[in-house]
Amino acid sequence: MNDEIHKLLLVGDNPFQGISHLSQEQARTRGEVDVSPADRAADIVVASIKNGANGFSFSVSDLTLSILRSLRERKSLDAISLYAMVPYAFEYVRVATQTGTPGLVKRFAKQVVLTGNLRAILEGLWSAARQDPEGFVNVYLSYELSRIKSAAGKQAKLTSVLLNEVIVDMALALNFDWLFKSLIDFLSKRGITPGFNTRNFPYLVSKFNEWEINIEEALIVTPFNKVGFQMNPSREKCEEALKNLAKPNLLAISVLAAGYLKPSEAADYITGLENLKGIIVGVSNEQQASATFALFKERLRI
């Protein structure tokens, strides 16, 4: 890894949301034994920060907003940067499962109105009248930003807003270049780094080149691990695309391949990669937080 850059070591929220990409069985067991309500999760974030994490990456959900509130009350947000992932796809898919896609659209519109964010409401109405998709993106982002600010406070350092991989990969596949361009435009104007989470990193690089989107303006989040887990089309192609980046602006996730690898094995692989900006790692308890982040802090020389 390049030593010149300011490296990021972020604590991720997957364990708090009950997610394990190794097995759902594991996630359920973890949930039963070690349920992580907001305060408990906030303890883990604080322990991670004490041991070297310099940021918190989270999907914007009711739970993570409560974690932000808890961190704010403890004044722990002052020391860290926030990386917010939107939308929290699980919740939206669940609503779509229960009410259908039109039901999801209606529910979202209702939520925007309930925030009382007048600007977002007016922009939403204007976009609906003009059937303007970019306007809808702006309304959505305004809505999520207002939720984050309301939980974390206006002084919190919201460094980046990252688009969830399901939306990113769908938009890549359907050639919705306008979505990426409008998100970059909207966030950059507000001093927030736009970010994109993908499971198809080489495909994203190729599309951004084709659409003349400057990848250096954005933060890319994608899996990197020794066993090639969730690295599509292959580990080799992902490594090649990483090597060819002009600037280290990639955050690796799944570095532990969802618990399949030991932290030391993961660190061996990650430290051998060129061009990484940093990594995001999820931990489920304070003990794991100290051991894991201390190790990565040392190995990444933060």
Partner: protein, 333 residues
Amino acid sequence: MPKRRIRIGVVGLGKMGLLHSSLLNTFQDVELVALCDRNALMTRVCRSIFSSTAVVVVNSVEKFNEFALDAVYITTPISSHFPIVKDLYAKKTVCNLFTEKTLASNSSQAEEMSEIAKKIGGITMVGYMKRFSVVFKKAKEFLVAGDLGEPVSFNAYAYSSDFLGLTKDSKSSVSRGGALKDIGCHIIDLAFWLFGDLKVTEVTSCDKIGDSEISASFTVTSPNEIAGRFDVSQRMLNYRMPEFGFSIECPRAKLDVNDDRLRLTLKDGSQKTLYRHDLHDNVPFWLGETEYHRENEEFINSIIDNRMCEPNFETALKVDRLIDQVKQRAATL
């Protein structure tokens, strides 16, 4: 001369319609031509978001006749599969059809669809994508290899928390066809694929909201006397995502397989576990799960090579038949 690409239309712009449309648009041999949804709001939204692409969004399947399509994907609610398929065949819009699971609302509709498909002679497929999961494929490999001995019995489950806490007034499950059609069909299809023909022997429980079951348990048997038990529920605690699995007893080992891993326990107690990580679970383009890419690839390659595709309408008909058997027996409980 450049090779002609397979021209595709997709009916239904819910999450499955958008997922298939997205994946298909990454295939070099495919041209995503037209999308259709009857819902006025969805049509308006999609026309607007697809306006910068060459994809046309229409509000009626009849309009698909204008596009000289090679294949149509049907991703609408189950109850509409039958009329849409019949209409597409009757109007000779297309002869190659992909239908999301289940094939139809009941087995008589499914039989009619299967018969028409046979007469027309195109390629058909039903979206039982779990067959394309690396872990279930590995389980099938173990069983086919025969080293474990002929299976004696199995327990199968399909669990989700999708409707946990919903009341009797909820119409959500009804719109998705009930637990058997919504999630149970996947393990039933896998069971046919793994063990061959199956017949219902007993329905031990069936809980309903309105007319739709929210959970059901039943037993089956195969011609070579494999005894099976199915447990299906959409109101299980802590199943963030739907999960499917089997525990299979064989003379020389027990095979436990679910969406994430396969565990082989030999009679001496020794175990071997294989995760997705161990099974080369990478695809050219990932969306949702890797199995969706493989499923679409199989359908498209079957059209290109003009060969039979699995699971096709005839194969999927068996799932609808078995679900009907369960429902009939459940009615007498």
